[in-house]
Amino acid sequence: MIEYPSILLSLITLPLLGILVIMVLPQNQINLVKTVSLTTSLIIFIISILLWLNFDLSTPKYQFVEHFFSVPYSNINVFIGIDGISLFFVLLTTFLIPICLLASWDSIKFSIKEYNIAFLFMGSLLICVFTVLDVLFFYIFFEAILIPMFLVIGIWGSRERKIRASYQFFLYTLIGSVLMLLAILTMYAQTGTTDVQVLTTITFSQDLQFFFWLAFFASLAVKVPMLPVHLWLPEAHSEAPTAGSVILAGILLKMGGYGFLRFSIPMFSHASIYFTPLIYTLSALAVMYTSLTTLRQVDMKRLIAYSSVAHMGFVTIGMFTMNLQGIEGSLFLMLSHGIVSSALFLCVGVIYDRHKTRIINYYSGLTVSMPIYSIIFLFFILANMGLPGTSSFVSEFMVLTGAFKSNVFITILIATGGVFGAAYSLWLYNRTAFGNIRLTYINNFQDIDRREFFVFLPCIIIVLIMGIYPEIFLSIMHVSVQHLIEQIY
C-alpha cells in the first residue's frame, strides 16, 4: 500500500484554501468564483475517494490517523482518523458539497461569494466532525456548524418565515448541546482525557453513565431529529435555499446518528441498553406519526422534511438493536437517505426555481410538460418508498431484520410505517406529475437543462449501485460494526 501523506488533513485544509482564493477574486467575475469553488469541491471529492481505495477493511482500528493539534497545558491531543463507520460519512460530505454548489449555480442571486465561502467552510467543518477522535472537539465542531447554517437559512432563505426557522434551528440545537458540554467536561474531570480511543476502554459507573447518556441524548436527539424535538426540521427545510436543505438533510442529520454510534453506544453501553425501550418508543412513534402528518402537507419541502424524520426513526431503531444487521442497516440507511432525500430536495428545487412556489396544488401534469424531470422525480420517489433495487430497500430490509431479532412488536409497527411511506410518496408524485396541466396557474414550461441533469445523474447511479450490489459498501463496515458490538457486551 502506498503511503499517502495526510489525506485527512488535506481534506480539511483544502476547502479553507479554496475560501482564501475565492475571497481575493473580484466581485464582477462571478462565474470565475463559482467555477473555482466547484473545482475545489470536486478536487476534494476525488481525494476522498483515495481514502476509500486505500482503506484496509480487515481491521477495526482507526486508519489514516494523524495528529491534528494539541491544546497546551492540558491532556487534550486531538487526532483525526476514520474507521469503517465514519468513512462513508466523509465520502457523503465530499459527494454532496459539489452537488450543492452546482445546484445553486443559478438560483442564488446575491452575495454569491459569501454563499460559496459558507458552503466550503461547512464542508471543512463537517469533515472535521466526522473524523476527529476527541470528544471535546467533536462538540466544538458539532456546534460550530450552527453558525454558517444559521446564516445560510437566514440570509438566502425564502422570504416568509425564515427568521423564525433560523431561530428555531439555532435554539433547539443549542439547548441540547450545552448539556452535552457539561457531560463532556465531567468526563474530562473524571478520567483526565478526552481521547475517544482511550475513553472507549473505560467503563463509567452506572449512575454516571445514565447522566452522560441522557446529556448526549438531549443533544443528539435534537440533531437526528427524534420525535418531541423534531419541530425545527420542517421549518428549517421549507425556508432554507435548495442547497441548504440538501446539506441539512444529507449530512447534518447524520451527525446525530454518527454521534450515537461513536459516543453513546460504545462508551455508555449499559445506559444504551437500559434506554433502548425509550429510543424504540420515540422512533416508532416518529415513523408512524410523521408519516401520517406527511399526508396533510401542502408544501412539498415540508413533506419531504417530515419523511426525513420518518427515515431517521428507522435509523435510530436500527442503531439500538445492537446486532450486526441492525447497525449496518442504520448506517446504510443514513447513506442512502443522505442521497435520496437530497435528490428529492433538489427535485423540488428545480420546480421552485422555475415557478417560485412549492405548494402542491399548483402543480399537476408534469409528465406532459417536463418528461425527463418526471422520470428522475419518479426514480427518487420510488427510492424514498423503498423499492427493491434501490438503496433504501436494502437498508430498510436490514433494519427490519435487525429489529425483528430484538423486538417483534416494534418491527410490526415500523413496517406498517413503511407502508405509510409508500402512501405519501406515491400521493405526492400522483398529484404533481400525473393528470392534466393546470394552465390557470402555470403556463411557462422548461424541462431540466444540462447542469441540473448532471446534478441528478451521480445520485441516480449511486442509488442504483447501492441497491443492486450493496456489498461494495457493506464490506467496509463489517469489521468496524462487529467491533462496536463486541465493545457493548
Partner: protein
C-alpha cells in the same frame, strides 16, 4: 513601625497608585488654573486632560508591570501586593485605558466641556487599585468609598438629562446603603473577633467549626453575611441588582462602558482575596449564598433581558447574567475555579469593551445620535460589511458558541464548576446561556436579516474607537486560536493565593 521603613519598601511597591494620586493633583490644578484663564480665552480642556489621563494610566500600567518586589504587605498591614494583585491591577489599568479612548469622541460631540470627567475616572481607578490591594477591613471600606463616590458623580455627568440625574441618585442611595451594610458587617466582625486584618482573621477562624453553636460563631457568621451582601450589592448580583439597569441606562454611554467592565474586575478580585483567604472557613455560608445569588442572577437576568428594547438596558441585564456565571466560579472554592473565573473575566471584558466601542463609534450622520434602541442597529451588516463582521464575532462570542473565544471562557469556568460537584448550578448556567443566546441572536437578526427599506447613514468611525474595536476583535481571534498564554498567566496568579 519605623518611619523610615515607609520610604524603604512601601512607596516602591505602591508606586502606581502614588503616581496616579500625584498626577490627579497636578491635573486638577492644571485644569483649574488654565480653564479659567482669560489669556487663553477660557479653553475647554476636557479632551486635553483626557489624553493626559490616558498617558497617566499608561505610565502607571508600565510602573505596575515593572514592580521590583514580590509579595509584600505594606503600610502597617493595610495593603498587600503580590502577583495576583499585579495581574488584576494591570487588567484594570488596561481596560480603563480603553474606556478613556472610546469616550473621547463622545465628549466632543455631546459637548461635555468640564474637564473633571477624566479626573473622576482617575480617582475611581485609584480607589479600585487600593481596593484590590486591601488587606484590612478599614482599607477595604475606604477604597470602596473612594471608588463609589467617584462613580456616583460620573453617573450623573450629563447635567442636561434628567435620566442621568436619576441614575446617579439611584446609584448614590443604593451605594450608600450597601456601604452602610458593609460597615455594619465589619463592625460586628470587629466586635466578635477584635481584629480587622485579613491575615489575623484567617488565622483566628482556622478550625472554627468546632464552636458551631456559640455566640461568637453566630456573631462572626452575621458579620460575614452582611459583608457578603454589601459586596453583592456593589457588583449587581441578583437579587440585589435593582439599581443596575436604571443606572446603566441613564449614565452617559462611555460611563456605562466603564461601569460594565472595570468595577467588576476590582470587586471580583476582592471577592477572591476576601473569601478565599480571610473567610475560607465559613465556606458553607458564602458558598450557598453565592450559589443562590448566582442562580437567581443567571435565570432572572436572562429572562428579563428578553423583553428589552434598548441596548444599554440589555447590556445591563447581560452584565447581571455574566456576574452570575462568575459568582458560580467563586462559589466553587478551588484554585481551578479561580483560573476559570479569571479566564472568563478577561474574555468578558474584551467582548464588552468591543461592544461598547461599536456602540460609541456608530454615530448617525446628520444628527450625531448614538444608537439607543435595538431597532436602530438595523441593516448595519448590509451597509458596512467589516463593522458587521466585527459585531458578529463579538455577539456570537457572547453567546458562547464554539469555536469563538466566549466558548473557551465558559468552558474553563464550567469545567471547574463541574469539578467541584456543583451540578445544579452548572446545568442552570448552561440553560440560561441558551436563553440569553436568544437576545444576542436577535441582535444579529436585526443587524443582518432585517427587511426594512431604509438604511441609516453613519459617520465614519473615529480613530480611537476603531483602534479599540480592532484590538478587541484581534484579542478574541487570538483567544480562539491559542489561549495558552492567558491560561498560564491566570494559573500562575491563582497559585500565588495558596501562599
Amino acid at each position: 513601625m519605623n518611619f523610615f521603613n515607609l520610604f524603604e519598601n512601601d512607596f516602591l511597591v505602591i508606586l502606581p497608585e502614588f503616581f496616579i494620586c500625584i498626577a490627579i493633583i497636578f491635573l486638577l490644578s492644571y485644569g483649574v488654573v488654565y480653564s479659567t484663564s482669560t489669556f487663553y480665552n477660557y479653553p475647554i480642556l476636557s479632551v486635553n486632560i483626557s489624553w493626559l489621563g490616558f498617558f497617566v494610566l499608561l505610565i502607571s500600567f508600565f510602573l505596575c508591570l515593572n514592580n521590583c518586589l514580590s509579595s509584600m504587605i505594606i503600610f502597617n498591614n493595610l495593603l498587600i501586593v503580590d502577583s495576583f494583585i499585579i495581574f488584576i491591577k494591570s487588567t484594570i489599568l488596561l481596560s480603563s485605558i480603553f474606556c478613556i479612548l472610546i469616550s473621547l469622541n463622545y465628549l466632543e460631540y455631546n459637548k461635555i466641556n468640564s474637564f473633571e470627567y477624566t479626573l473622576l475616572i482617575l480617582l475611581s481607578i485609584l480607589g479600585m487599585l487600593l481596593l484590590v490591594s486591601s488587606y484590612d477591613l478599614l482599607s477595604l471600606y475606604l477604597a470602596i468609598e473612594l471608588m463609589s463616590l467617584s462613580f456616583y458623580i460620573l453617573a450623573t455627568y450629563k447635567r442636561k438629562s434628567e435620566f442621568s440625574g436619576e441614575a446617579g441618585l439611584k446609584y448614590f442611595i443604593l451605594g450608600a446603603f450597601s456601604s452602610g451594610l458593609l460597615l455594619f458587617g465589619s463592625s460586628i466582625l470587629y466586635g466578635f473577633t477584635g481584629m480587622t486584618n485579613f491575615e489575623d482573621i484567617a488565622k483566628l477562624l482556622l478550625g472554627i467549626g468546632v464552636i458551631y453553636d456559640t455566640l461568637s460563631y453566630i456573631g462572626i457568621f452575621i458579620g460575614i453575611l452582611f459583608i457578603s451582601i454589601a459586596l453583592l450589592f456593589k457588583v449587581a448580583a441578583a437579587p440585589f441588582h435593582m439599581w443596575s439597569p436604571d443606572v446603566y441606562e441613564g449614565s452617559p454611554t462611555p460611563i456605562t462602558a466603564f461601569f460594565s467592565v472595570v468595577p467588576k474586575i476590582a470587586l471580583l478580585a476582592l471577592y477572591v482575596r476576601l473569601f478565599f483567604y480571610a473567610f475560607y472557613e465559613f465556606i458553607p455560608l458564602w458558598q450557598e449564598l453565592f450559589l443562590i445569588c448566582a442562580i437567581i442572577s443567571m435565570i432572572w437576568g436572562s429572562i428579563a433581558a428578553l423583553s428589552q428594547k434598548r441596548i444599554k438596558r440589555l447590556m445591563a441585564y447581560s452584565g447581571i447574567v455574566n456576574v452570575g456565571y462568575m459568582l458560580v466560579g467563586i462559589a466553587s472554592g478551588t484554585i481551578t475555579s479561580i483560573v476559570g473565573l479569571l479566564m472568563y473575566l478577561i474574555v468578558y471584558i474584551t467582548m464588552t469593551i468591543g461592544f461598547f466601542s461599536f456602540i460609541l463609534g456608530t454615530q448617525h450622520y446628520k444628527t450625531n445620535y448614538l444608537n439607543v434602541f435595538l431597532i436602530d442597529l438595523k441593516n448595519i451588516g448590509k451597509t458596512q460589511t467589516i463593522l458587521g463582521i466585527s459585531i458578529f464575532i463579538i455577539l456570537f462570542s457572547m453567546v458562547g458558541l464554539p469555536p469563538l473565544a466566549g466558548f473557551f471562557g465558559k468552558m474553563y469556568l464550567f469545567f471547574s464548576v463541574m469539578n467541584s460537584n456543583l451540578y445544579l448550578a452548572a446545568i442552570l448556567g448552561v440553560l440560561s446561556s441558551v436563553v440569553s443566546a436568544f437576545y444576542y441572536i436577535r441582535m444579529i437578526k436585526i443587524i443582518y436579516f432585517e427587511n426594512s427599506k431604509s438604511f441609516t447613514l453613519y459617520k465614519q468611525m473615529d480613530k480611537n474607537n476603531s483602534y479599540v474595536l480592532t484590538i478587541s476583535i484581534l484579542l478574541l481571534i487570538i483567544f480562539m486560536i491559542s489561549s495558552d498564554a492567558l491560561l498560564l498567566n491566570c494559573h500562575r496568579c491563582a497559585m500565588t493565593l495558596t501562599i
